[in-house]
């Protein structure tokens, strides 16, 4: 039985409080009018006009300009208002990025867990309680994510362009309105998120019941639930990701996008499972988790990092090759614009470093090296999500400052609190699973 140490609890609560303070600071220091933006812009030296032309949101604005031949000062005013809306989006965007990141990590940890059940995998059963505890974070993050979506739909922020009043003047958005409308959007989000939470609840419940009652019916039931969840998930994830992040750039679309996000968060979920496992092991828990189990998680990290890179490159190459204006609009701010450095850096953190570190079988059995690779992957995929969302919400006014860091700290603190509380609620080794012996004796022959 694991006990949530008071030291760790204090640490997590401190992170939550720090995060809340930082987020409040972010919301209170938002510029309120265009005069404040003028002082911010004159203080910073970067020429935002040049980069502005590349930005897709400006397409609508520049069409307006061409039509009405507005005077220079009016144009300047329009630009200031645009930058103002970007600055006002910043704390919301920061919150959304962190909430989405942690939500998807716990969701994909649940998917990984369900795959173990559906495949009747033998090796991973000693890790089941760790996976279950990470999925415990699904419920709190669902709450924050849905809260954010409701606030967005009720015009507290302008993260989703297609929710704004300009959408009615945009033929493409009018065409897409049967799908991209507030009612449908919220309905789908609530349906999907509730569905996933229900599956999680029953998977966990049966797992605990298997512990105490030890009857095979719970084992069979969990197998069925896991298969049902995976079937439900793979369909709903597509539309969920279309809604959540792809609709931020409503003119741009990619069929590969949901799989790309899936791969990105799958590798993050597995990495989080690994890091929590190694942490618990370093504290003397989980005596049945051997280097072979860690080695196997490392193989999954390696495999899914390459899987991610494959989807990244597929999506990029097809659109780069075809060179269509409506597709390149997505790549210009990322590949050539102000996001170039994090974009290239993310490729190194998410593909080059994990590939070079984790390709070696010897490295995968050394905990410190595999955790270092895991941290690269986690940081890299946070940047990945940041770049998925930020160019559409804050554009070239992006920065990594107090609001972004505070949102991350808030969810990280909450993650520690929720996950380790869940770990303390049940014995760290699941009992009653008929394949348990195989998991305990699991040995990678070359280790």
């Amino acid at each position: 039985m694991y006990t949530f140490s008071s030291k760790l609890k204090t640490f997590s609560i401190a992170l939550i409080v720090l995060g809340l303070l930082g987020m409040a600071y972010g919301f209170f220091t938002v510029p309120k009018n265009t005069e404040e933006i003028e002082t911010i812009l004159s203080a910073s030296s970067h020429n935002s006009h040049e980069a502005e032309a590349a930005h897709n949101e400006h397409k609508v604005a520049s069409e307006h300009k061409a039509e009405s031949h507005v005077s220079k000062s009016e144009e300047h005013q329009e630009h200031l208002e645009h930058v103002l809306s970007q600055y006002q989006n910043k704390p919301w965007s920061a919150f959304f990025i962190a909430a989405f990141f942690f939500f998807m990590i716990s969701l994909l940890a649940l998917v990984f867990y369900a795959i173990q059940w559906a495949a009747s995998a033998g090796w991973s059963i000693v890790l089941f309680r760790v996976m279950e505890s990470i999925t415990a974070f699904l419920l709190p993050t669902s709450f924050f994510l849905l809260l954010f979506l409701v606030l967005s739909a009720t015009n507290f922020n302008h993260i989703f362009v297609w929710m704004g009043e300009h959408a009615a003047n945009d033929p493409a958005l009018v065409e897409k309105a049967p799908w991209l409308n507030k009612t449908g959007f919220l309905f789908r989000a609530f349906l999907f998120v509730t569905g996933w939470n229900i599956f999680r609840f029953f998977l966990r419940k049966n797992s605990i019941a298997l512990d105490t009652a030890g009857e095979m019916k719970y084992y069979k039931r969990n197998f069925n639930i896991a298969v049902g969840f995976l079937a439900f998930f793979i369909v709903t994830e597509l539309f969920f990701v279309f809604d959540m992040t792809m609709s931020l750039d409503p003119h741009w679309f990619s069929q590969l996008y949901p799989f790309y996000v899936f791969a990105s968060m799958m590798v993050s979920g597995i990495t989080v499972i690994l890091i929590v496992t190694v942490y618990l092991k370093s504290k003397g828990y989980l005596p049945n988790v051997k280097q072979s189990h860690i080695h196997d998680l490392g193989k999954f990290m390696f495999g899914f990092s390459i899987f991610w890179a494959y989807f990244f490159f597929d999506q990029f190459m097809l659109q780069w090759y075809s060179n269509q204006p409506e597709e390149s609009v997505y790549w210009v701010p990322r590949l050539l614009g102000s996001y170039q450095l994090p974009f290239i850096g993310m490729l190194i953190l998410n593909f080059v470093l994990p590939f070079l570190i984790l390709i070696s079988s010897d490295f995968k059995r050394i905990s410190s090296i595999i955790v270092a690779a895991g941290l690269f992957i986690i940081i890299g995929h946070y940047i990945d999500i940041f770049i998925l969302i930020s160019p559409a919400t804050v554009g070239d006014s992006w920065s990594f400052g107090i609001p972004e860091l505070a949102s991350l700290l808030f969810f990280f603190g909450l993650f520690i609190f929720v996950v380790f509380s869940a770990l303390a609620k049940a014995p760290l080794q699941a009992k009653g699973n008929p394949l348990m012996k195989e998991s305990e004796h699991y040995h990678y022959y070359n280790l």
């Binding site: 490159f313 990029f316 190459m317 780069w320 090759y321 060179n323 022959y445």
Partner: protein, 174 residues
């Protein structure tokens, strides 16, 4: 010094691995083990050196990627310059993304095929090679360990018998 070899037959892979460990501990030399399927841990128990096939795979992969780069540079840039995706830059570096799939495929192609050929050569499985298996039963359900008998064939035989061998043959190796 006799050239006699003891061929011990086993009917279980776990017994075989345990017997291999026992024979090695007693200081006898195992010449070869024949199994109908790969047995995990047998190579460790026999004290075989790690395979160097992975190193050759890397070398073949490097050859493959170099060949791909050379080939596409020659075909698409030098010999018959191509307008790639409406970007007529005629430069290898600037058109890199469209070449990556072929570079990847040829890396895998070279590594895979040359590795298989290397494996066959190392296992002496070239064309017209006849089977060198001493007992056809080891291809279906039995395991065989060949131990150099040395001067004390009796002692080795009883050791193998104790370790669970179901059948013992002493043969002359030439």
């Amino acid at each position: 010094m006799s050239n006699k070899t003891i061929q011990a037959i086993f009917d279980d892979d776990d017994v075989l691995v345990a017997a291999v460990k026992k024979v090695r501990e007693s200081g006898n030399h195992i010449e070869e083990v024949f199994t109908p399927f790969p047995v995990h841990g047998l190579d460790k128990a026999m004290g075989l050196k790690d395979t160097r096939l992975a190193i050759t795979a890397f070398i073949y992969g490097v050859i493959g990627i170099s060949f791909a780069v050379w080939m596409m540079n020659f075909m698409m840039i030098k010999d018959w310059p191509q307008d790639i995706g409406g970007k007529p830059s005629f430069s290898y570096a600037e058109n890199m993304p469209s070449f990556i799939p072929i570079m990847f495929e040829l890396t895998v192609f070279f590594a895979a095929h040359l590795m298989v050929i290397t494996f066959y050569m190392r296992s002496k499985l070239w064309p017209f090679q006849t089977a060198s298996n001493p007992d056809p039963r080891t291809t279906s359900h039995l395991f065989m360990m060949e131990v150099a008998a040395g001067d004390n064939a009796e002692a080795v035989s009883s050791l193998l018998k104790d370790a669970g061998a179901t059948e013992l043959n002493v043969v002359d190796k030439h």
